[in-house]
Symmetry: C2
Subunit: 152 residues, 2 copies
């Protein structure tokens, strides 16, 4: 039989998770304004940090939205000159998406801001705290991943 968790711990935990969630949301909104891009387009740009070329399908998976939504987002980014389409030479169904030089500059600017925010948070702690925090967040994320089983 599983031992039950302290009630006040549960309450505190819920409040903390909610607060972190809200902080992230507010940061997203702020970034959207700061960089003059709708949130969806911003998220789309950011995932180009990982790979040089992406397909609409791949973007759809990474952003967790349906493909028709990706079409719309890409329209915006192409019109603004941040992303360009390239035909895949091997499969003409596929359009490869890649950052333009301007898009690369923009992304770099965005990533610098994001890094500075995260860096600042970490700098608010002493090295020992940072290490335990990261360990704990890792533990938490594994646990939250596991709990997804309850959602089927």
């Amino acid at each position: 039989m599983k031992k039950t968790v302290n009630d006040s711990q549960l309450k505190q935990f819920k409040a903390l998770v909610a607060k972190l969630f809200q902080c992230c949301q507010e940061r997203m909104q702020y970034q959207s304004e700061k960089f003059g891009l709708p949130e969806a387009e911003l998220r789309c740009l950011i995932i180009f940090g990982d790979e040089r070329y992406l397909t609409a399908k791949g973007i759809s998976l990474k952003l967790n939205v349906v493909k028709s939504r990706v079409t719309k987002i890409l329209q915006g980014l192409v019109k603004k000159g941040f992303i360009q389409r390239i035909q895949d030479p091997k499969d003409s169904r596929i359009t490869l998406l890649t950052l333009t030089p301007e898009g690369q500059r923009k992304l770099e600017e965005i990533n610098q801001f994001i890094d500075s925010i995260h860096m600042e948070v970490l700098l608010n702690m002493v090295p020992e705290q940072r290490r335990t925090l990261l360990k704990n967040l890792d533990l938490l994320s594994v646990s939250m991943e596991a709990v997804k089983e309850l959602m089927d």
Copy 2:
């Protein structure tokens, strides 16, 4: 002069925050489906956990949306019979919002689910881990709050 943070720590931290953020989002979506309510209406119901009566203005502040949006959300919840409007006897500009009995049942059901999810996450750890996790999350949330200064 501030000492700089390890680069791989920064990367790890960014990834963990992003993952937690996504988990929260996915849970919201799931709850919306599970309880047959749009996300905004669900969020609105949940804030009635704190107080018995709320005004449209108060809801606007708690949900962090403009008042016209609140009007819309309340229309849905009133039509579904979860919330009722009561005239404030002292100030007839104000409409007080309160849960109907059906709304209370619904909210209880929702809160039970939310609690069970959070409980499950905590139960994945030993008590010692729980304590340090909460301490660290608290530290993190304070720090993230402080960093909001960078966003003005």
